[in-house]
């Protein structure tokens, strides 16, 4: 039955001969069309230009001014370093960070720092980052001694996912900041003031004492300008609190309840790991859906031994890591308690890295042999990467001698 029907099919569009002729002439007609066309090269690629503006591989910056915020924090204002080829700064979403490259005695390392200025400031020509000097901090000590007005700094484009999205988040934001975790909220607060973000922000800002509070006066001014949109509560963990309007203690469930509309807010957390551990426990009782709690990536993990199922017995050990990067193969020592990215940086291999939290995948590398411990709280690998042996070296630790293949950094 079907066979018969199939034979019945007899399509004619114009006439049998014209249809066949049209087929026969396809190639010749195509050739004619080509010949008639312009031979001008295409010179512009607008989407490529937009992509390069929004996501430059590198930005060359120079320090324009430095402001002391507290005894241990400074705000660096960075402008485009025209001499090195950067003419305009990439626009960003408030809450994003820059991965700054620092060359410490020949060792090239990167650190993510939240942009503390507003996107509008970028159009005026600057970014600001606020950095806290860590006690015995190898990198921040270097920065304190060496970063002066005029110092050139290489940066990534704006990166990260710690930003307000009106399609996802409540228009009532609760920011929970610990210490220098306040920096992205300065950008967010300014963006709210400038009308770039249509939302309200209640900021619970934990510091150890009065002197540690960053941006105190600035936030007071912003609050005055926008009493309906901005509210900042300082929570100080020191014994005696004299500053007006401050809470004493930690950011507990009670404090949160006292100041926030819990049911209708999206919580943005940024601070040290210890703050996440504490605040997340406090938040449990509110039974919030996961989508209501957003957390900035950890950055460098400091207390690796506390990570779940970390093999404590290997803590003192060091293994041999064979690294293939570009045409170079090098054997380098790798401490169990240090991420592979740190071991490679120390060996001056300059591997690619941005978030240093396992999140962005920029350092994604092939594990050719050996075992690694992958930090389970910051394992953002793709399923197939796990299957085919790819790791993110910034969240991986050696458990044996290993061999890895690392891509070289991108260049412009």
């Amino acid at each position: 039955m079907n066979q018969k029907k199939e034979k019945d099919l007899d399509i004619t569009i114009k006439s049998t001969s014209r249809d066949l002729l049209a087929f026969m002439k396809l190639s010749a007609n195509r050739k004619k069309r080509f010949e008639k066309a312009s031979s001008d090269p295409i010179k512009s690629d607008p989407m490529n230009e937009l992509a390069t503006k929004l996501h430059p591989i590198r930005q060359y910056l120079v320090i324009e001014s430095i402001k002391d915020e507290t005894k241990t924090t400074k705000t660096f204002r960075l402008v485009a370093d025209n001499e090195s080829g950067t003419n305009e700064l990439a626009y960003f979403r408030p809450g994003q960070y820059l991965s700054l490259k620092v060359n410490v005695n020949g060792i090239e390392i990167t650190r993510p720092y939240s942009i503390a200025s507003s996107p509008k400031d970028t159009l005026k020509g600057f970014y600001e980052v606020t950095i806290r000097k860590e006690e015995n901090g190898f990198l921040t000590s270097y920065i304190w001694e060496n970063w002066k007005v005029g110092t050139k700094i290489e940066s990534s484009g704006p990166e990260g996912f710690f930003y307000f999205d009106r399609l996802r988040d409540s228009k009532q934001i609760v920011g929970i900041a610990g210490g220098s975790g306040i920096t992205p909220f300065r950008s967010i607060a300014k963006a709210i003031t400038e009308g770039i973000i249509d939302a309200k922000l209640t900021l619970l800002y934990g510091s150890s004492d009065e002197e540690d509070i960053i941006y105190y006066n600035e936030f007071k001014d912003l609050e005055k300008e926008n009493p309906d949109k901005l509210k900042i509560i300082y929570i100080l963990s020191c014994e005696v609190v004299s500053l007006e309007g401050c809470e004493q203690g930690f950011i507990t469930a009670n404090i949160i309840k006292k100041y926030c509309n819990i049911a209708n807010s999206t919580f943005f957390l940024c601070g040290p790991q210890i703050m996440y551990n504490f605040v997340e426990k406090e938040l449990i009782q509110f039974n919030l859906p996961l989508k209501r709690i957003r957390r900035e990536a950890f950055g460098e993990v400091k207390d690796v031994l506390d990570l779940p199922n970390f093999p404590q017995e290997l803590a003192e050990k060091s293994f041999k890591m064979t690294v293939h990067i570009g045409e170079v193969t090098k054997e380098v020592p790798a401490l169990v308690t240090e991420s592979l990215i740190v071991a490679m940086e120390r060996a001056k291999l300059a591997p690619p890295s941005k978030c240093r939290s396992g999140e962005c995948g920029f350092c994604r590398s092939l594990l050719i042999s050996g075992d690694v411990y992958v930090n389970p709280v910051s394992d953002w690998r793709r399923a197939a990467d796990k299957k085919f042996g790819y790791i993110h070296p910034c969240s991986s630790y050696p458990l044996s001698d290993i061999e890895i293949k690392v891509p070289r950094k991108k260049v412009n």
């Binding site: 190639s27 090269p41 937009l50 979403r93 399609l167 859906p289 299957k387 891509p407 260049v411």
Partner: protein, 523 residues
């Protein structure tokens, strides 16, 4: 840098260099490596796949661009891509079938329609008949034509592009008679009722050319192929099979280098001599398989520029670049079941007047057409228990985004995403907004950023009849302007789409292998 530099014996040298690890480039590199040639695959991003990839946000891993893989089919009755993956490349990647063909929702009151179409030609015809009584015979004829086109192209492929004209005339007449016409002409001739045509043409967005212009050979074969063989998707997103092909390339001693962008293809007297990367190094080779479009290759890569013949520019300028896309990826904190979303693939549009839709895609406004997926309805465990993944795709013609400034970019894309979500909610009556746990919006800028594709274009050159796959395949040997340079991918001989690009990679590899054999480089 002059060409003699590239002969420096300190330079690395390869039998073949593949530029770009997209669908075409991956397959090409694997096939050439498997023949024993020394292959280098250079990719500017740090991942394989090009458009065929995945990314992670929170607890979700999103598929970047694949909707459904064409021509995979069942283990018993393998399609071309399953044969390629299982038998030729022997890669370690799992695919699962897509449950139904699609649900088509047309929203404007005059054309209102909401219909779910099954796979299987006869079931499909009956589903259309139920929706449009009296359409059965004409729709069946349309599928019969698709089948005949498939047979004809298989025959032409078997004859390596040199079919016997008598055989074509005798056995493939319907293919011949329709090859020069757009789909509207064929559906007019078959007297397919308007509403049935709307249903049949729902896949139009996969080719991105309206039915008044899209070539019949490609379109009818595509509809027939999907409905006959069903569609598949990779279990762990496209990153699984692209990683599996990459692993295969390494297994055959091919080198794969990421973050390595080719800046120049070095040509001397019409012959490929090597490539230069943006890290400044020169790598010698006489064979380049290029997964970048001819648009980018001839305009930007060939060096020196005097080696590009005028006709290459004319060829680019005579054609129309296909559409770019916007994709809204969402991880929801509820299940598809709780939302009442039963289907995997949703075509939602205001009208099925595809000219009207196509014309509107030049405007920077919420597109009136979308292809939306609920991944969990094909892969239930693609996201954690209690969640699901929905992605909305729509298109823009190149040019629509040209004047967007960086400072308005995030607003523009959010507004358009907002509108697409609203249109989905209105059409399905399902509220998803309150459940958005993760959201990411990719635009033409995003695709340009990650793949370098010209102006964010994700489809190749438009498949109009004059430049459809038949004339492309017929002329492919006349259009090799530089010795040692082969193209593969969505801008290639077979047109765009995952399956076409994968197969095109195989064809490009075949040409390169033939040359390498002739030169005695491989046996």
């Amino acid at each position: 840098m002059n060409i003699t530099d590239s002969k420096d014996k300190n330079n690395r040298a390869y039998d073949a260099i593949v530029i770009g690890a997209g669908n075409g480039g991956l397959v090409a590199a694997a096939r050439v490596a498997m023949k024993g040639a020394k292959v280098l695959l250079l990719e500017q991003h740090n991942l394989p796949g090009g458009f065929a990839s995945s990314f992670v946000r929170g607890r979700f891993e999103f598929e970047t661009s694949l909707h459904e893989l064409y021509d995979y089919s069942t283990p018993e009755n393998k399609g071309g891509i399953r044969i390629l993956f299982e038998d030729r490349l022997n890669i370690d990647a799992d695919f699962v079938p897509v449950p139904e063909a699609y649900r088509l929702i047309v929203t404007n009151p005059d054309e209102k329609m909401d219909v779910v179409l099954p796979f299987g030609v006869e079931d499909f015809i009956q589903a259309v008949e139920k929706e449009v009584p009296g359409s059965e015979d004409s729709v069946r004829k349309f599928f019969q034509l698709g089948k005949e086109i498939d047979e004809a192209t298989t025959y032409i492929g078997k004859m390596r592009g040199n079919p016997d004209q008598d055989v074509l005339l005798k056995e493939h007449t319907n293919f011949l008679r329709t090859a020069a016409y757009p789909i509207d002409d064929i559906q007019d001739a078959l007297n397919i009722p308007e509403r049935a045509r709307a249903i049949l043409n729902a896949y139009w967005l996969y080719l991105g050319v309206p039915t008044s212009r899209v070539n019949t050979t490609v379109f009818a074969a595509m509809v027939h192929g999907y409905i006959l063989k069903g569609a598949y998707i990779p279990k762990m997103r496209s990153h699984e099979y692209t990683s599996a092909i990459e692993a295969k390339i390494r297994e055959y001693n091919g080198d794969v280098e990421y973050n390595s962008k080719v800046q120049r293809i070095l040509v001397n007297k019409g012959k490929v001599m090597g490539v230069q990367t943006n890290k400044g190094e020169i790598i010698n080779t006489n064979h380049v398989i290029c997964n970048a479009s001819p648009t980018l290759t001839y305009n930007n890569l060939i060096h020196p520029k005097s080696e590009v013949p005028e006709i290459a520019f004319k060829q680019i300028n005579a054609r129309t670049h296909g559409v770019a896309t916007i994709v809204v990826y969402m991880g929801l904190d509820t299940t598809a079941e709780k939302l009442g979303l039963k289907d995997y693939s949703y075509f939602i549009c205001d009208t099925m007047d595809t000219d009207q839709l196509y014309d509107s895609l030049i405007n920077l406004e919420v597109p009136k057409v979308q292809a939306t997926l609920c991944l969990n309805n094909a892969i239930p465990d693609c996201s954690p228990p209690g969640t699901c993944i929905i992605s909305i795709t729509s298109a823009f013609r190149p040019g629509a985004w040209d004047n967007v400034n960086p400072e308005e970019y995030f607003d523009v894309k959010t507004k358009i995403a907002d509108g697409l979500i609203e249109n989905f909610e209105k059409a399905t009556g399902v509220q998803i907004r309150d459940h958005i746990e993760e959201i990411e919006v990719a635009t033409p800028q995003t695709f340009s950023r990650f793949t370098g594709t010209y102006n964010g274009v994700i489809y190749g050159y438009e498949l109009e009849s004059w430049d459809s796959i038949i004339p492309r395949l017929q002329s492919m040997n006349d259009e090799k302007y530089i010795e040692g340079l082969e193209f593969c991918g969505g801008f290639g001989k077979r047109g765009h789409g995952y399956s076409s690009s994968l197969k095109d990679g195989e064809t490009a590899a075949l040409f390169t292998i033939q040359s390498l054999m002739k030169e005695g480089v491989i046996k």
